[in-house]
């Protein structure tokens, strides 16, 4: 069973579990902020999220174990940036189903028309992963590659064999969204 829980509703232990994953070297090095985040700073940031409507952060649980995070930041009325991270031992099935569920939700329930990814240019697997989802690069530098996916392209991408298979399979395993 997979469920998503808003960061603002996590318990202290769950925040610590989340930070333990986020502070892994491999994950930090792929993040915009590569520094380790300490617990106090993290909780201060969580407090700021409670009054910020343009940012949605969910922790991902698989059978009650916290295994990652996924987020959406509204850039303006139509464009938003998303990102994910997972414990390296997370099953590919969880990563795939959560990703597709979240992106589909962004376009179909959260009013996003263009979704962007900010990826470190040396993070080749993440760029390939985004390409597989239909994202196209629109701005590249030595440090970051910016990719984007619009609603129409997402609809077309969902009809391709790879995503269609996953979405079909995912109907047997609904994702529980605990809160907005």
């Amino acid at each position: 069973m997979i469920h998503l829980k808003n960061y603002t509703d996590l318990t202290a232990q769950e925040h610590q579990d989340l930070l333990n994953i986020r502070n892994l070297t491999t994950i930090r090095n792929a993040s915009t902020n590569i520094e380790e985040i300490d617990f106090t700073d993290h909780i201060r940031w969580i407090e700021s999220l409670k009054t910020c409507s343009g940012k949605i952060y969910y922790a991902v649980f698989e059978t009650n174990t916290l295994c990652g995070g996924i987020h959406l930041i509204q850039n303006n009325d139509e464009t938003a940036t998303w990102g994910i991270f997972f414990d390296p031992n997370t099953s590919v099935w969880v990563i795939a189903s959560v990703t597709l569920y979240f992106i589909d939700r962004c376009f179909n329930h959260l009013g996003v028309t263009t979704l962007q990814s900010h990826i470190r240019t040396n993070n080749i697997p993440a760029i390939a992963f985004n390409r597989q989802l239909g994202f196209k690069p629109f701005c590249e530098s030595d440090d970051f590659t910016l990719m984007q996916l619009d609603e129409m392209l997402w609809s077309a991408q969902k009809e391709k064999k790879i995503l269609k298979n996953i979405l079909q399979y995912a109907t047997h395993y609904p994702i529980n969204l605990e809160s907005l």
Binding site: S91, V92, A96, F129, I162, I166, Q168
Partner: protein
């Protein structure tokens, strides 16, 4: 049984190779690497392949198996590393 399983997996891998425009996946053997070190599939393609194989196994053997469960993920040696290991894993699940 093993030959049937190999045929099912080969067919699913070839379909995936066509989708990904990956020549390596068009010529399937037991040694064809799927996922992990040197594997031709990323996580999305692997999950898609798993869904395809499960469906084809059900159509052929009338048995529902779950390939991407915790047992598979927790195995020290991944059953998804190559076609041969996936065949063995499917056979094991069908015999359980």
């Amino acid at each position: 049984m093993k030959e049937h399983i190999f045929e099912i997996i080969s067919s699913a891998v070839r379909d995936m190779g066509e989708e990904l425009e990956n020549e390596t996946l068009q010529h399937v053997s037991e040694e064809t690497k799927l996922f992990g070190n040197g594997g031709a599939l990323d996580s999305l393609a692997l999950v898609s392949l798993i869904a395809d194989v499960e469906e084809k196994i059900y159509d052929t053997f009338e048995r529902a198996i779950v390939l991407a469960d915790e047992r598979a993920m927790s195995q020290r040696t991944s059953p998804f590393r190559d076609v041969g290991s996936l065949c063995n894993y499917v056979e094991k699940l069908l015999n359980d």
